[in-house]
Symmetry: C2
Subunit: 313 residues, 2 copies
């Protein structure tokens, strides 16, 4: 909010009772953290929620009751037909009608859709196959700390047992930590499948996803294979992506310089590269992308939505 000079008249920093007494700094001022309750939310114009689905369910009514708008970063409302699921570069128009709640998509779905949406102006998208390389930070600050401490321990020969994740992540990788659901896909994969379809407004798009945690601290990467309804040239794909909003084209074959977590960390844009034709299927393209899931994959996208809410008032 501060970095984007969001027009804040009053900032309320709300959290669980446990955080009472803490302060956060905003635009050079210290703001006391209060407990998030119906009372402390009363009268806010825009509430940015990011405390998990059950908190969102519990607290949204208080915001709506006083005419405010909730921009929700949890999965609580994302798939509700009356709730827009918005990536401003793609479907800001979906905000035209909302009932007070606008959902911020899953991080991997945002990064994916920002990278592939621009290509839809070249041809109809038929199906995609995605494999992710997701960082520890997607599971929270404690998961990042665990990766660092576990790695330190491993190098010293006394690796601590994992606590946040079920398996060690240091010098390892594993299928995403969310539970496997009825259909054989884990929670993260099902979010990417459903949310990608909703954001792109393509409810029948074929989306095959494998979500994997890797030993990176921040920024998710995704390897994406796309099939269109007609051939798309590498040149046209590169051309469209080079001017696409929210995208930085990073496709330097001569220097083998393509999207990487280290370079994408702390950046607003989604980096896209490795653009190449499928050698067998003339209608298919491949690409590799990286995006900071704490920024575009979460906080930045939520603030962008809030900016649209403010602009529409």
């Amino acid at each position: 909010l501060e970095r984007r000079r969001f027009p804040v008249k009053e900032l309320r920093a709300l959290a669980s009772a446990r955080s009472g007494g803490k302060t956060v700094s905003f635009s050079g001022e210290s703001v006391a953290v209060r407990e998030a309750t119906a009372e402390s939310l009363s009268g806010v114009d825009i509430a940015l929620f990011s405390a998990g689905a059950s908190r969102s369910h519990a607290l949204a009514p208080a915001v709506l009751a006083s005419g405010g708008v909730v921009v929700d970063n949890s999965s609580a409302f994302r798939m509700r037909p009356d709730v827009p699921l918005v990536v401003p570069e793609i479907n800001a128009h979906a905000m035209a009608k909302h009932g007070g709640i606008i959902a911020n998509p899953n991080c991997a779905a945002i990064i994916l859709t920002v990278a592939i949406h621009p290509l839809r102006q070249l041809a109809g998208l038929e199906r995609i196959v995605v494999s992710t390389y997701q960082s520890a930070s997607g599971a929270g600050a404690r998961a990042m700390e665990e990766l660092v401490e576990q790695t330190r321990g491993h190098l010293a020969g006394n690796e601590p047992a994992p606590e946040v994740f079920k398996w060690p992540l240091a010098f390892n990788l594993f299928s995403h930590n969310t539970d496997i659901q009825e259909n054989g896909y884990n929670g993260e994969e099902n979010k990417v499948i459903e949310e990608t379809r909703k954001i792109l407004e393509m409810p029948k798009l074929g989306v095959a996803v494998t979500c994997v945690r890797v030993a990176t601290l921040r920024a998710h990467c995704e390897s994406v294979w796309l099939e269109f309804d007609r051939p798309v040239s590498e040149h046209d794909a590169r051309s469209v992506l080079s001017t696409a909003p929210g995208v930085i084209l990073q496709d330097d074959r001569a220097n083998n310089h393509f999207p990487m977590p280290r370079e994408a960390s702390g950046q607003d844009a989604v980096f896209v590269g490795r653009i190449r034709r499928d050698l067998h299927n003339p209608n298919a393209l491949q690409l590799f992308c990286a995006g900071d899931q704490l920024l575009k994959g979460a906080a930045l996208n939520a603030v962008q939505i809030a900016e649209l809410v403010t602009a529409a008032r």
Copy 2:
């Protein structure tokens, strides 16, 4: 050779002149390392080459001249039509006619084909999309050391500049370090594409591959999407893989326990799991596999080939 009790009458340990004077131990005996030359190779029955394509080209004639067989781990001969490219679990029959050279495939191609070949008894394979998670050891011992030292430095706040790889690998990942070739794919990807087709004897199989280095020390993983010419059930796929040679089925949804580099390291088998139907395409399946690329992806496969050479004598 020692672990598999290969019938060795005489072992010659050959390397570059630089290694002269070193020794290796074999079955409790110390073997002096000699320089690999036409003379030192004279009269060998089986030569296991693993010193790069140019050395293989230079030294193979000496072995062939004295009636020996070369099992070559480099890329020198793999795509030559008169050279069998062998994964014993898949195409041992290809060894029936060879001209003295048998090629050991690329590590990622071996792990991939061991995992997917068994499924071909259920249906015809139409195309595959693969994204890899390849460990540092694929680039040699110095690359492993670099990852360890770089990680140690990163944690201490004074990360050394990368030397083996172009980019830092600690808490990072990047598109495979081999050069991008004319067709937009890097060297590793082109090997996987071509060698997979040759091993499976499917010269027109659609193989779309993205090869990525991740911060693991040993064992490669691969996320694989497969399309068949008819529907294949998860049950049948699991059943076939549970008894497939060289495969360990590791597909425990309840415990979120699937193939991981840490568990596959040091193991002979390729671990396969995450078997699930594509939700959109009834003819497609997905899986995730992990294999130790120093064992099944290199040394073990070469020794298995040598065992077949010996058995055929």
